[in-house]
Symmetry: C2
Subunit: 287 residues, 2 copies
């Protein structure tokens, strides 16, 4: 959808989105493209948007907000943590805070601080119960299980399944042959330095991880600040429907031209809508 976030969101129906994943323009950054929101007015600017997001998200859905406060006058600004408090007053549950550890952070040297190597990924929900497909993002174990448990003799497995106080208790069978472990709330991903025309804010791995974790094929993903469309692109690749909102025609055209609905993916359907009123059929389809 080409247009302003506030007005375009109003067109989306209630309880229709499974996952919102976005990285809004940071305060005062990308000033030339987004007009720049001053840090002191950031919360006030974002709250009407988060209110609409709360409306369009399904009760079982999740909102993941990628954000990091900037430094002002030598201090970390407080608009992010103030935003958390205010969003809770709106009815959001602050379920979790993931850390994106940027392995190749932007270089630089300052007398009073080191390079900033991490960003927040704030998880908000409407209810305590929401969809989470943890198995989709499991990671390889350290060779712990392979090199150690695998070598348990057959007699050990059969004859002595309950090693009291061994640390694994009776459930040792659960470990046999297991090669993957559940991840943690710290994500290690490098920023992409690929020189595209419009560099993305985050690597594709980032939305991919959350899309796999919080949606299944055919679900609907929303990015109200589409930008170069990383979230939308990944959602499409993974067979999820997606809605992107972008105010700059330049970005809008770029994404529109680069993304094609996948023919081999039956349930997926691209929902990158044209300007309001231009294609009434599209709008009807969306509803």
């Amino acid at each position: 959808m080409l247009g302003d976030c506030h007005t375009e969101l109003a067109k989306l129906p209630d309880n229709s989105i499974d996952l919102i994943f976005t990285s809004p323009p940071y305060a005062d950054s990308r000033k030339n493209t987004y007009g720049g929101v001053s840090p002191d007015k950031y919360v006030e600017w974002f709250l009407p948007i988060s209110s609409e997001l709360l409306r369009v998200l399904k009760p079982t859905g999740t909102f993941v907000l990628n954000i990091k406060e900037k430094v002002e006058n030598g201090e970390r600004h407080t608009y992010v943590i103030e935003l958390i408090l205010e969003m809770r007053k709106q009815g959001w549950l602050w379920t979790e805070e993931f850390i994106w550890h940027k392995k190749n952070s932007y270089p630089g040297k300052w007398p009073n601080r080191f390079r900033d190597s991490w960003e927040r990924l704030l998880q908000f929900n409407k209810n305590r119960k929401f969809h989470m497909y943890q198995e989709e993002v499991m990671v390889p174990m350290g060779n712990w299980a392979n090199s150690r448990l695998k070598n348990l003799s057959e007699t050990d497995k059969v004859r002595d399944p309950s090693r009291v106080g061994s640390g694994f208790g009776k459930k040792i069978a659960n470990w046999i042959g297991r090669e993957k472990a559940y991840p943690t709330n710290v994500l290690h991903m490098a920023t992409e330095t690929k020189n595209r025309n419009h560099s993305a804010v985050f690597p594709e791995d980032l939305p991919e991880w959350f899309i796999k974790l919080f949606t299944k094929r055919g679900d609907c993903v929303l990015d109200p600040f589409m930008g170069s469309g990383t979230t939308i692109t990944v959602a499409n690749k993974l067979g999820r429907n997606s809605v992107g909102i972008e105010i700059l025609p330049e970005y809008y055209d770029l994404v529109k031209n680069s993304i094609q609905p996948l023919n081999d993916v039956r349930p997926a359907q691209l929902a990158l809508l044209e300007r309001k009123g231009k294609y009434a059929t599209n709008k009807t389809k969306r509803s």
Copy 2:
């Protein structure tokens, strides 16, 4: 100093401490030892202490607070971020937030969240200008392969192959010939689970890093929640003076018996004081 944090802090003179590094009892945890502070009353409980800390810290000093909010009713509690806002009202500057990535976090599985693998290290200052000895925590590039890469855990290798061999991505050529590299604001350290009498809350590497970064030999380090004394022990090893406050005689005795002033370190002097009034000479010396 054996005693309650509130009362003991009042005995310290103004502007006398170069670094405060501490990990206060987390809300509702270690209930049996510390009496347990409920999450809802945590800010109210901590503010009088941080007020005293502001008084005793030198204008050029730094306060590093290790803390992490717990989950309550499926949500991350907000007492930590509320504490940041309130401490700023007291006059603290929230200079930076470091991330401690705990490589061996507590295991467990739940339907709605992953294991919590990180903690906050909040840096507060009294002024924009403070002492920071960045070179002291630089990673020696000469020993790089030995000290760092060799110590990569099996998990690191499996989950994050980019750290093996190539180091940090494609830009390794930039590092050839360089002797040292500055760290970032993300620290990767495992908790120590050694079988001691009283296991420490954090590994020695953690206070060591901040003591090197924010103090020089002969400076004074304060830990108002001494516990098993990791901060004090490390400060002593590094030739810094140190003050530890602990309310439990059990811990107090443990640390007192285990730490000896180093004879070969001229400017260092242990400031682990006896109970008030017992050894007036010690008290006088401190002043």
